[in-house]
């Protein structure tokens, strides 16, 4: 080595070394993350990516003439409530319709995938204490965050490839496919960065996930409100929402590539913020310090403990349902609007049931969406049992004078009762926002409960009888959600649709009116599933 003659290069080198030192070990951590996610990520990418091409082929076969597709586009664009749900149709080609149906839906799911990945490899590692041991090795301060974001980037990149390739295979390739794939994956990466910021602010991985999910939900509501107001995505509200950006890329409709730059800029800004925060805080700590608690406790029963553990999440869910209910209730009035004086759309309008019919159909669709989201709540809530057990916190409680049934019942009351609370809040919100028909809307909302409970029952059975496969309950809920959102659009055969308990419920309000048969049957099945699950839990070993 020759002597350094000036200090400037040495300084530069030192800076470079300090910068690379912050990222030391990223490659190893990335490989660890990909190894840990080797099952979860391919399932996400293939299931979500594959849904684009299957929607594409279904639309191509269902609406095989240009005239049919134009009719669909006109009827959707003419109605502000349907626009709020699905977004405006920018182009009536097959690809344009796929983009209409899938841009926001895919963006939301890509965002959820990204938030799970990022929190799992950042805050969750710190919360469990595993990060401490990793960071004690040659691992830079910013390496865990970098590895997590790279994992999300890889997942979203793979998703983009699957989407673009699948659409090309379904006969809707070209620039539109690339634009749609990038818009969806870009939104995923954007919310990966949002999750990275949330992970810096709280010591609880659960709360970090909840915060990010709330931002995603808010973005969806903003986009919906914006699309309700304007039929070309030009509303300020739509532009305030990253999910609105995905829509405004206008895949297959003279793509606006520059919108992707807006996405990229938001990714960059959030990433810079997350990195700045991550480099400035202690491992395992957060910017919101934990406050001391009471020296004496008042929790005396397993139910009290379950309530205490779940009350935060339940409060958050209930408020979200009320807010979303009010927001969409406010958009309901537009369900019967008709833009323009087109004879064709008037005819469609009459066929769909006229003013009352359309409003009811929209409300029915809304309560159904709320019901499917509440199914996610009940799965999460029931799986708290699983989380408590695998974390080793159930064991000392069960070593107290608490029966397995009593312990499980505490959480199950909150899961199943909580679902009822959510649907009440959502139903009341809808009715308040809409301003009419409170009993009918609330009733319609509560009628969703048997299907939600049934999915809760499936979760209890999986947890009780096959605890190692308990998380498969997410897959079951995901399938029902996908069937509910995409099934009608792609004219899924009834046999397949029947898998989802939601399809067996009466369409309320309006529709065919209340039918007690399926409601009572689903409730009974749910009760049997819960009973079987708790029975299995009582007979099996506690996991350690």
């Amino acid at each position: 080595m020759t002597a350094v003659t000036t200090t400037a290069p040495a300084d530069a080198r030192r800076r470079t070394r300090a910068a690379t030192g912050q990222l030391a070990g990223t490659w190893t951590l990335l490989r660890l993350a990909l190894r840990r996610d080797r099952v979860m990520l391919p399932i996400w990418v293939l299931a979500l990516g594959g849904s684009f091409s299957s929607v594409g082929s279904s639309i191509a076969s269902l609406y095989d003439t240009a005239a049919q597709r134009a009719e669909l586009a006109a009827s959707m664009n003419g109605n502000s409530s349907l626009r709020a749900m699905y977004g405006p149709v920018f182009d009536d080609s097959v690809g344009g319709l796929v983009s209409w149906r899938m841009a926001a839906f895919g963006a939301v799911l890509a965002a959820v995938m990204s938030l799970i990945v990022v929190i799992r490899h950042t805050r969750e590692e710190e919360e469990t204490g595993r990060q401490e041991m990793l960071s004690a090795a040659m691992v830079g301060r910013r390496a865990p965050l970098t590895a997590a974001l790279l994992t999300a980037l890889i997942a979203n990149g793979a998703l983009a490839l699957v989407v673009a390739a699948g659409l090309a295979g379904a006969g809707a390739g070209g620039a539109g496919a690339v634009a749609l794939a990038l818009a969806v994956a870009g939104t995923g990466v954007l919310f990966a960065c949002t999750a990275a910021i949330a992970a810096q602010f709280t010591e609880s991985a659960r709360l970090a996930k909840g915060l990010t999910a709330a931002v995603i939900g808010a973005a969806f509501v903003l986009k919906a409100a914006g699309d309700s107001a304007a039929d070309d995505g030009s509303s300020v509200l739509t532009w305030l929402s990253p999910i609105g950006w995905a829509e405004n890329v206008r895949a297959y409709a003279d793509e606006r590539w520059w919108v992707l730059l807006v996405l990229a800029a938001a990714v960059a800004v959030q990433a810079v913020l997350a990195y700045a925060l991550a480099g400035r805080r202690d491992v395992g700590m957060s910017f919101l310090a934990t406050r001391p608690g009471p020296a004496q406790g008042r929790i005396a029963t397993a139910f009290g403990l379950a309530l205490r553990l779940q009350r935060g999440a339940l409060t958050g869910w209930t408020l979200s349902f009320a807010v979303v209910g009010v927001a969409f209730g406010g958009l309901t009035g537009g369900a019967a609007d008709l833009v323009g004086d087109n004879a064709k759309t008037r005819e469609i309008f009459e066929r769909m049931g006229g003013q009352a019919g359309l409003t009811d159909a929209f409300l029915a669709a809304m309560v159904s969406v709320l019901g499917m989201v509440a199914a996610l709540y009940i799965v999460a809530s029931v799986l708290r049992l699983h989380g408590e057990e695998t974390a080793g916190r159930a064991e000392p409680v069960l070593a107290g004078a608490v029966s397995r049934t009593g312990w499980a019942a505490g959480h199950l009351v909150i899961a199943f009762g909580g679902a009822a609370l959510l649907m009440t809040a959502g139903g009341l919100g809808l009715a308040v926002g809409y301003g009419h028909e409170l009993p009918a809307v609330l009733g319609a909302s509560l009628v969703q409960l048997p299907a939600i409970w049934l999915l809760g029952g499936v979760t209890v059975l999986l947890y009780g009888a096959f605890p190692k496969a308990a998380v498969a309950a997410w897959g079951v809920a995901g399938i029902c959600l996908a069937l509910g959102w995409l099934g009608p659009a792609v004219d899924m055969p009834q046999a397949v649709m029947g898998v989802s308990p939601f399809t067996h419920l009466p369409k309320l309000p309006g529709g065919t009116g209340m039918e007690w048969g399926p409601v009572l049957t689903l409730t009974a099945v749910a009760a049997v599933l819960v009973g079987a699950g708790v029975g299995a839990l009582r007979r099996r070993d506690v996991l350690s």
């Binding site: 919360e127 010591e203 609880s204 934990t290 406050r291 001391p292 608690g293 009471p294 020296a295 004496q296 406790g297 008042r298 929790i299 005396a300 029963t301 397993a302 009290g304 403990l305 205490r308 553990l309 935060g312 974390a391 080793g392 916190r393 064991e395 000392p396 409680v397 069960l398 070593a399 107290g400 004078a401 608490v402 029966s403 009593g406 007979r539 099996r540 070993d541 506690v542 350690s544």
Partner: protein, 310 residues
Amino acid sequence: MTKAITVAGLHKSFGRTHALDGLDLTVEAGEVHGFLGPNGSGKSTTIRVLLGLLRADSGAAQLLGRDPWRDAVELHRKVAYVPGDVTLWRNLSGGEVIDLYGSLRGGLDRTRRADLVDRFELDPTKKGRTYSKGNRQKVALVAAFASDVDLLILDEPTSGLDPLMEEVFQDCVAEERARGRTVLLSSHILSEVETLCDRVSIIRQGRTVETGSLADMRHLTRTNISAELAGPPNGLARLPGVHDLEVQGLRVTLQVDTDKLDAVLKSLTASGVRTLTSTPPTLEELFLRHYATDAADAPGSGEDAEVAAR
């Protein structure tokens, strides 16, 4: 004396792993019983069976005269359990957790709780995640010792405790015995077991290999000596009870039966001692020495092992 715990021929498998392979255990009411064995030997599995958390494949187990699986809830009013690795709820304070466990057992003695919080120097207002490992153990220990129960099942309860707190723990166990309670203490720390336990059961690979009072097992205790001498050692190898002697110049390491310690120390001081460390042997060392070499003979009783050791 009545029996607090009787276990006979207990078997438990997890898939292809035989965690318990005919384990026997008898704990008299009112005694402190040491439960020893290497990692993975089945101590925690036995304890989980006794707590009704696992169902035994075969064999008999009784806790306070009742079936630990069938009568789990009733039994647990009289049992306090401390796991080796306490996990707490991140958003619950230590005080809340102590009172919760108290409520889930036979109730809590408030004065004793306050006294224990004080003695263990525990801040009960801190929340779960902010406690260190040792402090999490203290939360569970306070909850157990303050509970109004007949039987304490402690599974490596002192892991992470500092020596001062270890002392407080030992005082607490002694008080429990004085109050007539039964303690099953699983531990790796032989000195702790020596101080506290009336009788000891040693298990290995899911089977009980030794059981009896500590006096019966005196042969198990050897002391490791490591010394730096002023002059060359002289005649150490000829002393009775000396094992594994290694001499490197002036450095000497050896093991000695604890009752033969005096002669060894005299021999060392005769050469002049510069530094001296003496440590009790770890359980693993004992097991390696006593059982690893003659596992084929499967020594079933203390006498066999003693013969093998001599």
